[in-house]
Symmetry: C2
DNA sequence: CAAATGGGTGAGAAATCCTCACCTGTCCGA
DNA sequence: TCGGACAGGTGAGGATTTCTCACCCATTTG
């Protein structure tokens, strides 16, 4: 058929002009300059070989042909806009998947700063426990805990994991070997690791409270249920608010939190911006005075 | 709202691809190269941040998002095409207004040559007796008989009018003053003019047949009703076919046929092409051996 | 396995679109 | 009736879009 399609922008300009009567108002509605609108109309008229608008005094009126054209189009432009809108909304947002603990204690407190710097980007934080399939689910990127050696995935290290024991200030404590430790089911090896690396006497405590995951462990510690072994970066706000205190030195682990991106993120540029910002945040000193164990 | 409209071409490409399954076929349907179609799809996907088509073997399939997008658009593209089609059809054609006689005896016999040279231009010849209002009616140009001094209109002379007497071969004739002349109501001054300029003896015949216009006068002469005084250029085909013979010398008038264009023709370039061609045709020798009276 | 077929890509040219600066014409109050 | 404010039109210039061409890669098929 090879039917030369007219410029959609020109038609949209005509439509807007029909509704707003004035070029100025129509241009503003379309988010373009008055001059651009004038050009659009003129070009459309040349393209279709017909006068479509006339000026009578200050208001622009459509000619019969212009009116007929718009009438024949019906709401075609609106249909297209509506059809495309969901995809465009999705495009403005970045879906970031991560685990609860990191989201609650590190990411979410910092996110407002990113929002202020990029008001046009909306970030949807999806918190899960399991590791999401980056390409299977509708997720643009993730922050994952591990060694960064996932096959086929390029990971950028944000920061290495650390472990530091902390507890509510009111908790009465004896020697480390007597601590009422809180252990997360998935991280049973953390306490022995810390015990060994900090050369504590005796065995790592094996009893105490067991909870499902690290987020719950932190909650339990905040509630005064015992001593939690957690990442130093999660403590910032709690220390500042006096809800927890540090009980020993910080150790660094081999593993770390990495930023990984889906093979085909919806909006790569926005994801890039987020990645850069996350790297900066991760490399910034966690908090003034850290690690507190150093001065102890 | 400032909603970024997507590219209509991209959407049309997606639509065509959905129907034709193959990029090649879709591209051909749209009248663009395969490469262009591929670019269009890729750009649309980048613009909307979503994969819209997948290739499985040899056929391209839409993804769910692509299908949903097309479904949501409905027939919006078709609506736009249909709305624009009448204007585009009108754009391909030139409306030329002229009088019956010229159309039948000079223009129409030559027009096929122009058509062959410009197959994409369609010419609508509107024949009237009255002089049309060039800007009031939907006419792009006209061929007018006169002095070329119409106010506010730029006229290009095609050829000067001529007058030559002719009649059917079978008609028995005496001296000119005895001729059974045919006169058109609007052109009563033609016979005296010819009489005077060719220095015929006596008075110009005032009796004889009177018809409405020159076209009818020529018809009457062809039917053997008498002697018509007509433009030499109208005789070409009739002389060649032996339907008429020339009875006296050709005289040239001050007036002529002019090409005039509407102030805003639908497609100025096509009208230009027609104008140039008409000028060439007008200045070409009317026919080999003209004027025949010269050799008489 | 080679040719044929179909799709993807990069370069570069052409067309489209936008803004800016600057006109012109209209309206309105002093 | 005169200026200023307002509205629209225009041309230059630059960014973006869109096209084709030439080429590459993958799949199918003889």
């Amino acid at each position: 058929m090879s039917s030369n399609l007219p410029s959609l922008r020109g038609l949209a300009a005509l439509d807007a002009l029909a509704r707003h009567k004035r070029q100025g108002a129509a241009a503003e509605a379309l988010g373009i300059s008055r001059s651009a609108l004038s050009h659009r109309i003129a070009d459309l008229e040349a393209e279709l070989g017909a006068r479509l608008v006339t000026r009578s005094g200050r208001v622009s009126m459509l000619t019969d042909e212009g009116t007929a054209l718009l009438a024949a189009m019906g709401d075609a432009i609106g249909r297209i806009e509506a059809a495309v809108a969901p995809l465009q909304r999705r495009l403005r947002q970045i879906r970031l998947s991560t685990v609860n603990t990191l989201a609650a204690n590190w990411l979410l407190p910092r996110l407002p700063r990113f929002q202020r710097a990029h008001p046009d980007i909306e970030i949807a934080v999806l918190t899960t426990q399991r590791v999401v399939d980056l390409d299977g689910e509708d997720v643009d990127c993730a922050i994952r805990n591990g060694m960064g050696d996932w096959p086929g995935i390029q990971a950028r290290l944000l920061f290495r994991e650390t472990l530091v024991p902390a507890a509510a200030p009111g908790l009465a404590l004896g020697r480390p070997s007597d601590w009422p430790v809180i252990r997360a089911r998935a991280r049973f090896r953390d306490w022995p690791l810390w015990w060994q690396q900090t050369r504590q006497k005796g065995e790592a405590p094996a009893g105490g409270m067991v909870v499902e995951n690290r987020a719950q462990a932190l909650e339990a510690a905040l509630a005064g249920a015992g001593v939690v072994l957690t990442d130093a970066r999660y403590l910032d706000t709690h220390l500042a608010a006096g809800r927890l205190r540090v009980l020993g030195p910080v150790i660094a682990l081999e593993s770390g939190f990495h930023f990984v991106r889906s093979r085909a993120p919806r909006n790569p540029r926005n994801v890039d911006a987020l990645a850069r910002w996350l790297e900066d945040e991760g490399q910034a000193a966690p908090q003034a005075g850290w690690p507190p164990g150093a001065s102890d």
